[in-house]
Structures are given as structure tokens and as C-alpha cells.
Amino acid sequence: MESKRVIAAIEVSGLVKTYRLGDVLVEALKGIDLSIPAGEFLAVMGPSGSGKSTLMNILGCLDRPTAGTYRIDGEEVGNLSRDGRAVLRRSRLGFVFQGFNLLSRLSARENVELPMIYDATPAPVRRERALSALSSVGLADRAHHLPSQLSGGQQQRVAIARAIVNTPAMILADEPTGNLDSSTSEEIMRIFQLLNDERRITLVLVTHEPDIALFAKRVVRFLDGRIVEDRPVANRYRPSALPETRK
């Protein structure tokens, strides 16, 4: 199973999503074909309302497409039930949000443990894996801090630890640097690159900033619910090593 997870490939074809807003039908995605091989690092760009977030919600199994297929490793997941999608989310997907979305009453470690609480992982295993995930984002010594006691960059790293703790096939990051200053943003992006390089985790990243997109291997640009550009990143930005993590 472990090796199969790592080579996960995402296959999306003819994806359509329509919303009903009052009595107006809004077509957020108008037929998307996208293939994301295992180990990809994809940046999704485009103006607001172009359909990026809708795609992310569907890729993250938070939402179902109106039409079209969504396959992970050849397995159709677009039409799973609510609970089926929940199980898929916690076992194969990781989320990183712009607003961090940590639970304020839980410590860093407990936040990282959250996905494992729902798959009945025994408590000692949960603790051990949470601590190792935290140390891989450089926060081993912050395990017992509450989110309010951490800086924005540190909070986002806790969120990354939470996303990787169940060794997912793919991490979906929705403007993860949107609330961070430029040096912290770079820090976060290097962590993503490292996870992509060393663990071969597929990454899909939504961003507005061209600088951030440079960390990815490939860029897809959205406009009005369609993909208008799909190209590899020519001059990819690859800092040699992780900067020293800020205390």
C-alpha cells in the first residue's frame, strides 16, 4: 500500500461544475481536462472567480463534480458518498489553507493528531507520528504551544504537519502564503519543495503571486472556468537548503 500511495496519479477529464445562485445557473468549471502525474508540483493561477477554488474543492473531495470524471490511480472518486469522501480525505489527501485553520483550543501536537483521531489510530502511535511530522517541519520544540502562541509561519507549518501526518498521496494548498510576509512565504514554499522532492508527495498549489508559482514544476492558468495555459516552469526557483527555522 505504502508504495502505491506514493505513485498516485490524478486524472481529471470533462469536469463540469454548475452552481445554482438563486435562479441563475453559474458554470464554475466548463470542462476541465487535467492530468497530474505522481510527484508533480503544480501551481494553479488565475483571477478570482476563474474556477481555481472550485477545482481545488473537487480535487480535495470536499465537493462533487456536476459532470466528468475524477480518478486517483485509476479509481473513480468523483461520485463517492459523503462518508466515502471523508475517509478518502483523511487517508490520501492533505489540506493547507490560507487562514491556517487550526483549532485554537488544541496544542500544535493535538492539531496534527486530528486526522488520526478519526481513523482510530492508537493514542501512542498518534503522538509519535504527530511529533515526527512536527519535527520534519522544524517545530519539534513547539509541540505543546497553542496556535495563538505561534507566529503565522509557524502556524502554517503546523498545518503542513497536519497535512502530511497520514502520508497522503496529494497535498492541496489553497493560497498557503496569502497571509504571510515574503520571507516566511519562502520558508513555507521550501518545505513544500522538500516534501515534493524527498517524499514524492504530489502538490497542487493555488496562488495569485507569480513568485510563489516559481517554486512549482508546472503552472496551469485558469480563466472563466477553463484552462487557458499549461506549461512547465522554465526558471524554477530552487534554494539549495532549508533556511534556519525561526524560533
Partner: protein, 408 residues
Amino acid sequence: MNLLSAGRVAFRSLRANKMRSILTMLGMIIGVAAVIIMVAIGEGANQRISAQIASVGSNLLLVLPGSTTSGGLRSGFGSAPTLTMSDAREIGKELPSVRAASPAMRSSGPVVYGNQNWSTILQGAVPEYLEMREWNIVSGRNFTAQETESASKVCLLGRTVADYLFGTEDPVGKIVRIKRSPFTVVGVLDRKGQSPQGQDQDDVVVLPITTMQKKLAGSAHVGAVGVIMVQAMDADHIKDAERQVTELLRQRHRTGQAGIDDFSVRNLSEMLALAESATRIMSLLLGGIASVSLLVGGIGIMNIMLVSVTERTREIGIRMAVGARERDILSQFLIEAVILALTGGAVGILLGSGGAILTSRLAGWTTVISPGAVLLAFGFSAAVGVFFGFYPARKASRMDPIDALRYE
């Protein structure tokens, strides 16, 4: 998610809102405490009535003498001395449904010992009378059939009479004067307490009915008795006994058909059962009123859970994003509601038990805290938690994760 970690999650979020949780519990605490106190008071009243009923004696019938017609004027039952000693004897001996029968006669008068005197009820009876009324002797002995036969001047003192006349002295063997005749005290009766009508049953002197007829009553009708007390074989034979007594007396008195009987048979147990059902209705009413406050407590839980679900929409979204299923969210909020209800219930039981004990101390009422009522209250609070927690919990579990994550 297993129950333990679900419980821990629920407990933490309740602790995070201490004041709110305590106030919500207060509703349950008051409700459960009210139920416990009210049921304890009702149960206590029930038990007191039952004890009083037992003190009268079980499966008893009372035969009252009938009316007489003199000069066209019909007097009520009990006005004519139509029952006799031999009626009582026949009833006791001949009827298969009857265990025993005792003629009885009442009058009153002063009883004197030394320089003490006490006006009391004089109860004439036969030795079987004590057994029928399940009345024990604490010191001395019962009077005998022989003493009844010979109309001896012996008597038994009720506790109240014994206390007033003798204080701490032992009355057995002493001579008291009843209506100026000397009587030997042969025994002292056990305490019986109040009758269902509220009379002190211990304020009595029991003596052989023959002695009473000859030495004290000065009755114009020698051999007549006041009433006949009849005890049926058991509860199932009361109706039979009632019918057989009626038939026998009609035969003996030659009154023929109903309507002109010179006696009447009353079912004592039936009258007492009526009193018992009245208290039962009262205790049901008390419990019912208290249950309303339990219901209000439950609505309080529902209210606060709804607020809590709305407040924590984002948390619900995050939990769903990381893989919580519908039932995980449902059980989290349901467990929170049940913890609120059960903790409130447990505190309410303690408080209610304390309140019941305090009530019996201060007001002097009998209260009974039955384990059944405590268990029921505890189970009921759990049920309240599940019932009133279900709707908010389901609302939480049905949320759309995308909307929930976007909620500000």
C-alpha cells in the same frame, strides 16, 4: 473515532466554556433534584399510609348493628344493639372464609392510678382481637378466654395511657381504677401510631367485652355488642366472607331480604385502599410537576447546543476537511449534550437526596429516597441529553464542509 477520544474532545470543549456549561447543567440539576425530592416526599407519604393501613389489620370486615324503627322513626345504622355475642361466635366458628371474629364495644371513661388520671377509650373485645389487628404486647400478656368467660377485671393498656399514668414505672401487675372499679393491668400494648383518620390508636384500654358489658356499660341489652370485627382468610376471600356473613346474619336475625337488614357489613380494607390511591395520585402529581422542570432543563441543553454548533461551524469544517465522517461529528456533539445532562443529573441526585433528607429533618415528613427513583432520574437525564442533543448534533453533522470552512 472511538468513544474515549470522543468523550475527551467533548469534555474539553465543555471546559472551554465553563460558565455556560455550568449554567446549562443548573437547569438539569434543578430538574433532577426536584424530581428526587418530590418522589421522595410522595413515596414517604405512601409508606406512611401503608403503615397505617397495616396498623389497622389486614383483610378486615366490620359488621355494624342496624337501625330500629320505633313509632315510625327510623334511626341510622348503629343506633340499635342488634348484634350479639352469639352472632360473633357463630361467624367465627361456622363460616369457611372467615379466619376469626371478635365482638367489640367501645365506651370512654377515666382511668386512675395513684394520683394520676387519664380519660381514654375503653375497648371491650375477646383475646383474638389483638391477633386480628396484628397488635403485639411489649410486656405482660394478653387476657385469656377464661378471663373473658368469667368477666374478670383485667385490662391491657395502650402505650399512651401507660406513659401518662405510669411514666417509667412498669404497669404490669398494678391495679388501676376504671369508672371506680379496680382492674389488674396484665399487659402493655405495642405502639401503633396514628390511625388513617388521624386518631391516636395507643390512647386506649382493652378489656374483656364481658367485663365491659357487666361491670361498666350498664347496658339495657345484656349480651349485645357494639360491632363485630371479622377477619377473612386472605385478601381473595374478603368478598366471600362479606357475602357469607350477610347470609348468616339474615338467617339468624330472620330479616329475610335485603333492604330491611338490621345490620350492615363494611369492607375496611376497601376504604383504606381508597386512602392509599389518593396518596398515590398525589405523589404522581408531584413527580409530574417536577418532571416539567426536567423538561425545561433539557430545552436549555438543546438551546445551548444549537448556539455552540453555530459558533463552532469553522471547527466543524476543519474536522470534516481532515476526514471526520457525519457520525464522528454527530457523536461529538451528542456526547457533549449527554455529558451536560448526566453531570447535571448526578449533581441533581446528590442535591435532591440532600434536600429530601433536609425536608424530613426540618418539616418532620417521612421521605423515602428509593434506589429505583435515583436510577430512573439518572437514566432519564441521559435520555434527555440524547433527545435534546440529537437535533443540534445532526445539524452539525449535515453541514457542508466547504461552507463550514468559509464561515466567519
